[in-house]
């Protein structure tokens, strides 16, 4: 995944540089492999150390991953019972480590669709329209950030780009406190909120944007469910 071998070959994360790396069935990967993703996801590069030296490869990628909620796939379903043994669903979730989950900004639970919705889908927003909105937001953020996407904003740049009014700042503070967000999660929530505001075409980040960003950090992966 990260690269290596006798020839120090670049791995998948480098091949996906400036692109998308899609990992299906995330929880089925080895723990070591998954944890090796943490460095590229944070730094945008990967370091491979061998006895005779080390190399850095670029690895600025968009990670997209999918997984089932448990081995049988029915955990949390409204109609059908999960067939896994007690505690197995929680163990399955925990295969993806907390620090890695922490670095995944948008987490969406996908419940099973009712058959009716599959046969007669509601007219979704056309992809071209969404693409137009994304392109417009992209132009706005590149212009404001001096050629950097929101995802790469750090420190003071991030604070400046995320101009928040008092209410939005209060919202972020309360959410961070109630959800026990790590410092990294707070910054990641700010970047997502900034992007949501850009997509909504607004200059300032509002409490709604903060909440929307927080609602996308679905926590069912972090907090083992009681039931």
């Amino acid at each position: 995944m990260v690269g290596g071998g006798p020839q120090l070959r670049p791995g998948l994360v480098t091949l996906a540089h400036l692109g998308v790396l899609f990992l299906d069935e995330l929880a089925e990967f080895d723990r070591d492999v998954l944890d090796a993703l943490r460095q590229p996801l944070e730094d945008g590069s990967v370091e491979i150390v061998r006895a005779h030296g080390s190399v850095h490869y670029p690895a600025r990628l968009q990670l997209v991953a999918a997984m089932n909620p448990c081995r049988c796939g029915w955990h949390g379903d409204v109609q059908r019972a999960c067939r896994c043994r007690s505690g197995e669903a929680e163990r399955y979730m925990r295969r993806v480590s907390g620090p890695l989950v922490d670095r995944i900004d948008l987490r969406v639970v996908m419940p099973r669709l009712e058959p009716g919705a599959l046969v007669a889908p509601v007219a979704p927003e056309p992809s071209a329209v969404v693409a137009g909105r994304v392109a417009a937001a992209w132009r706005v953020e590149m212009e404001r950030n001096g050629g950097r996407p929101n995802a790469l904003l750090r420190g003071r740049q991030l604070q400046r780009a995320c101009a928040m009014d008092r209410a939005a700042r209060d919202a972020l503070v309360e959410i961070a406190r109630r959800l026990d967000l790590t410092a990294r999660s707070v910054h990641r929530t700010m970047r997502v909120a900034r992007t949501i505001a850009d997509l909504r075409g607004r200059a300032a980040v509002s409490p709604e944007d903060i909440l929307a960003a927080a609602s996308l950090r679905d926590r069912s992966m972090e907090v083992p469910l009681a039931a």
Partner: protein, 428 residues
């Protein structure tokens, strides 16, 4: 308590907790020696050689290797189980104690000892209902269990269950969320709390009710322990509700105990031919159990509807008053939750708002205690909505005060709101 009875109580617990001593052995010891103290003294005086065989012939049972050694250890340090319970912050009740619940003493095979965390008083409550069902629950089964727990809490009843995953946990959690009390009867020693995911739930139950077991600290759960504890669950409750049970579910054992004990049994029916409820359907067909058709009817059938200190309508009324303090988008979502737990998709459909807006509103409602998550994509009304005093701002802790629209622009932390201004929110 006199010195003598206190000594007998210590010996009683030590004898009952000794590995290898079950209820039958315990009774024979009592008959043979007259007291637990005398039994332990007798074993202590026994010669080590062939002690197991001597014991067996005394008790009239087959020899059990290790029994004598186990008893000798108990005799050498009879305080040990009491100490272990005290270290866990728990308490012990024996039939020698005045506070031992008569409901348990009336059992055909009363527990020799009750080990507990939390409030021993909760065991005496007469308004108490057992809610049980399968570990392998469906999402709708869990939602139903949690609604039943919440409604019983509002009716002032204590909810008794087994702290297993699935229906049990949902019933406990629903009761706690509604500000009620609940008792968990576990099938292992108090220091072995079962599913790791339930540690937090267990301490919440101990803080608002009790966690009890008849098994000594250090006893691991096994095949036999769960069915046996079910008789305690049904005995503590004035009535029992089976929420979701496939054929051969442990909940059916609890149901049978309830019928044997002459307590009312309500069973949630399901769809015919659905294996998830096969056990429920069999109960309805073959026993005097009554079907659970609604939460109001449930209270009537359990004779709980009358002196309900804060039941349905008034709680709902104050909840509606409280809703006035929410911004419109949140109010639509909270109103949907008042009809019971539901999925995010269902809330989106009902409220007619965009998914993103609903998700953001739900996040806020959860933060502020107006909603609580039952599982992925399933939410229920939270403590602030279900507690009877939800309507009065004064009773809500200032930290969790819902945002009033008039306060939405004030400067103090926690007062921000999320009103939906025109032109806000993405279209999709």
């Amino acid at each position: 308590m006199t010195h003598r009875t206190s000594e007998e109580r210590t010996a009683w617990v030590a004898l009952a907790a000794a590995p290898g001593v079950g209820p039958v052995t315990f009774q024979r010891f009592l008959v043979l020696h007259g007291s637990a103290r005398a039994a332990l003294d007798a074993v202590g005086a026994m010669s080590h050689r062939s002690a197991d065989r001597t014991l067996a012939s005394e008790l009239g049972m087959r020899p059990r290797p290790g029994l004598a050694a186990s008893l000798r250890r108990a005799a050498a340090d009879p305080e040990s189980p009491l100490r272990r319970v005290a270290d866990l912050g728990g308490w012990v009740l024996t039939p020698l104690d005045a506070a031992f619940p008569p409901k348990l003493q009336a059992l055909e095979e009363p527990p020799l000892v009750i080990y507990g965390l939390g409030s021993p008083l909760s065991l005496q409550a007469s308004r108490s209902v057992a809610v049980v069902g399968t570990r392998r629950a469906t999402g709708s089964g869990r939602m139903l269990a949690s609604r039943i727990g919440a409604r019983l809490a509002q009716a002032g009843a204590i909810v008794v269950s087994g702290l297993a995953v699935g229906i049990d946990a949902a019933a406990h959690a629903g009761t706690l969320d509604a500000g009620g009390q609940t008792i968990a009867v576990v099938g292992s020693g108090l220091d072995d709390p079962g599913p790791r995911a339930h540690r937090r739930l267990m301490s919440a139950i101990a803080a608002h009710g009790a966690v009890i077991t008849e098994l000594a600290p250090g006893v691991a759960p096994s095949r036999g322990t769960f069915p046996r504890r079910n008789r305690i669950i049904s005995a503590l409750a004035a009535g029992t509700i089976v929420v979701e049970a496939p054929a051969r579910s442990g909940a059916l054992i609890t149901a049978r105990h309830a019928l044997e004990q002459g307590r009312p049994l309500l069973v949630a029916p399901g769809r015919p031919l659905d294996p998830a409820v096969a056990g429920c359907l069999a109960l309805l067909r073959e026993t005097p159990a009554r079907p659970l058709v609604g939460l109001d009817e449930m209270l009537v059938d359990l004779a709980l509807e009358d002196p309900a200190p804060s039941s349905g309508p008034s709680a709902r009324l104050s909840a509606m008053a409280a809703l006035g303090m929410l911004a419109p988008s949140q109010r639509a979502v909270a109103e949907a939750l008042l009809d019971g737990p539901q999925t995010v998709d269902a809330i989106v459909r009902r409220s007619g708002q965009a998914t993103g807006v609903v998700a953001a509103a739900l996040t806020l409602l959860q933060l502020r205690g107006w909603a609580s998550a039952l599982g992925p994509m399933q939410l229920a009304a939270g403590p602030l909505l279900t507690q009877p005093e939800a309507g009065s701002t004064g009773s809500a802790p200032s930290e969790t005060r819902p945002p009033g629209s008039s306060r939405s622009r004030s400067r103090s932390s926690g007062s921000w709101s999320m009103g939906r201004r025109p032109g806000t929110g993405p279209s999709g």
